[in-house]
Amino acid sequence: MEGKALRSLAGATLALWLILPLVPLAIWSVAHGWRFPALLPEEWSLKAWAYALSPTSGVLQSLGVTTLIAAATTVLSALLAVPAGRALALYRFRGKGIVVLVLLAPAILPGITVALGLHGIFLQLGLTGTIPGVILAHLIPALPYMTLVMATVFARFDTDAEDQARSLGARPWQVFVHVTLPAIRPGLLVGALFAFLISWSQYLLTLSIGGGKVQTLPLVLYSFATSGRNDLTGAVAMIYILPGLLALALIARHLTGRNLALGPESVR
């Protein structure tokens, strides 16, 4: 009983921690003049929202671009991270330590060094200022996380299940679809969420590789924030955090760390 109460308290604190910083932004988005000593705005208005959602602001358009880039980054990460994570977890091979280091490098190195180095290469390849270029750039921070998540998933995966399926008459692709994929699905979802949110929140890489031609939400948000339009910043920020919250809510039950893979302990 006591444990349950403690858990609810912890949950409530965590929720407050996450939601409190958003409250002023939400108020800003519907405020019309909100000066320092006043606890609440004197007047309310939906003007900021109307503008943010209008075609002229370009917010909705960049919402689409951001979604496209994040989705593509997620899918590509998954396609590469599933085999890579499996190899890291299940196979012994020469130079495995170096591979792990190279994989982790983008997560360790300061983002600005990666962005600057990459810019030169992408310029030569004609990838700067294009959406594919930005997607490729986003893979650099997203892929290591997804690969490491998949490696922990596969570390607990019993490959005998695949052998068993094979012996029961499943062809290799059937084994993957009917046995491996269901077993790694929870971990895959968690990894995909990471990849999506990493791409979603990229600022530096999008700016340097996109060269201002690829306008994702973080870029739009930043330009509003620096131009002093607090009401617009609030509205765009609300739009910006929405998909993350949605994705989190959808797969939250897989985020407990348990049940990440088909393993002896995951049996209920």
Binding site: R92, A161, R166, S167, L168, G169, A170, R171, H178, R268
Partner: protein, 351 residues
């Protein structure tokens, strides 16, 4: 369908010594053969090689005279049941049993009929909609067996089918395997490290020692007439007396003993090792006609039997007797020892 394995060799990557060395094995059509060997002898490797889950370095595997080595696992007609039931956790019991049929693209209606029939035969009726997590260990093992048998394989491979079960469940599972095997007449190879499991399940036993089949035959033959000292020792606790066979008599430290009948001619003359099964030794009164006399050194209660350590004129000997009998013995007491000719066997001197 008879399975024949010839000269099978497999070295695992990174190992210097071959796990399987030039292995010959035969599984008679419609029979159960047990591949018996100590843990780590490469038994599961042999299974995976036959099932097509591993590729051998050399050798030949034929099923009903046809080489199956070029075939992928799903086309071999061989189904392997792992030691761990390995049920697919996201599928129900019925879906697990129907898995192989579904992979073959059979119509849903036929799958349903065959699964229902198989569930009934494995005493799983009514459990079809359960999830594997809701099953007991014995039930899970039965589902794994049903999932393999429903495919009507040409060859069934069972990896330690009883060893993960409680003693009470073992008997049920053993009876079920024997019944189903008799009904379907599926050629079966059981792999096990447990001699009792091999003896109770199999018509024939192939004893795997150091990567090769050391002896292949009916269980009682391997037990009574071991081909080598290593085979005799595998069944545990055997009394060993080095000596020499001459003119129908085996001369050793305990004096001359008549040579056992049916001994290979190579062993009827020259050096050898006399083996005596401890449970075949009769302990009688010292006055018993024809009995040797020995001193009781110690008695150990083992449950259904007691082990008596004896000193027979300076030669140590172990006998297994009923606990009741052992209770009447005291340390240092003299007893009569009768060695029935049927308990004696001679194996080649390994030296």
């Amino acid at each position: 369908m008879t399975l024949e394995v010839r000269g099978l060799t497999k070295t695992h990557p990174g190992d210097t010594l071959a796990t399987i060395r030039n292995l010959d094995l035969m599984v008679d059509s419609g029979r159960i053969t047990a591949l018996l060997g100590p843990s780590g002898a490469g038994k599961t490797t042999v299974m995976k090689l036959i099932a097509g889950l591993l590729t051998p370095d050399g050798g030949q595997i034929t099923l009903a005279g046809r080489s199956i080595l070029p075939l992928p696992p799903e086309q071999r007609g061989v189904v392997m049941v792992f030691q761990n039931p390995l049920l697919f956790p996201h599928l129900t019991v019925a879906e697990n049993v129907g898995f192989g049929l579904r992979m073959r693209g059979l119509p849903a209606k036929e799958i349903r009929t065959r699964v229902a029939e198989m569930l009934e035969r494995t005493q799983l009726t009514g459990l079809g909609s359960r999830r594997p997590a809701e099953l007991s260990g014995g039930q899970a093992q039965r589902v794994a067996l049903a999932r393999a048998l429903v495919l009507k394989p040409d060859l069934l491979l069972l990896d330690e089918p009883l060893s993960s079960l409680d003693p009470t469940l073992r008997d049920d599972m053993r009876a079920l395997i024997l019944t189903l095997q008799r009904e379907t007449a599926v050629t079966t190879l059981v792999v096990t490290h447990d001699q009792t499991e091999a003896v109770v399940l199999a018509d024939r036993i192939a004893l795997l020692l150091e990567g090769r089949v050391a002896q292949h035959g009916p269980p009682d033959q391997i037990y009574r007439q071991p081909a080598s000292l290593a085979v005799a020792r595998f069944f545990g606790g055997v009394n060993v007396l080095p000596g020499r066979a001459t003119a129908g008599v085996f001369q050793s430290a305990i004096g001359p003993m008549p040579l056992p009948a049916g001994l290979p001619s190579a062993l009827t003359d020259g050096p050898g090792v006399l083996t005596i099964r401890p449970e075949a030794i009769d302990l009688v009164t010292p006055a018993h006609p024809g009995a040797l006399t020995a001193r009781v050194l110690a008695c150990t209660f083992l449950g259904t039997q007691s082990r008596v350590a004896l000193d027979l004129g300076g030669t140590p000997l172990e006998a297994l007797v009923s606990p009741d009998f052992a209770q009447g013995l005291t340390k240092g007491q003299m007893v009569g020892v009768v060695l029935p000719p049927s308990a004696l066997w001679v194996v080649p001197d390994p030296a």
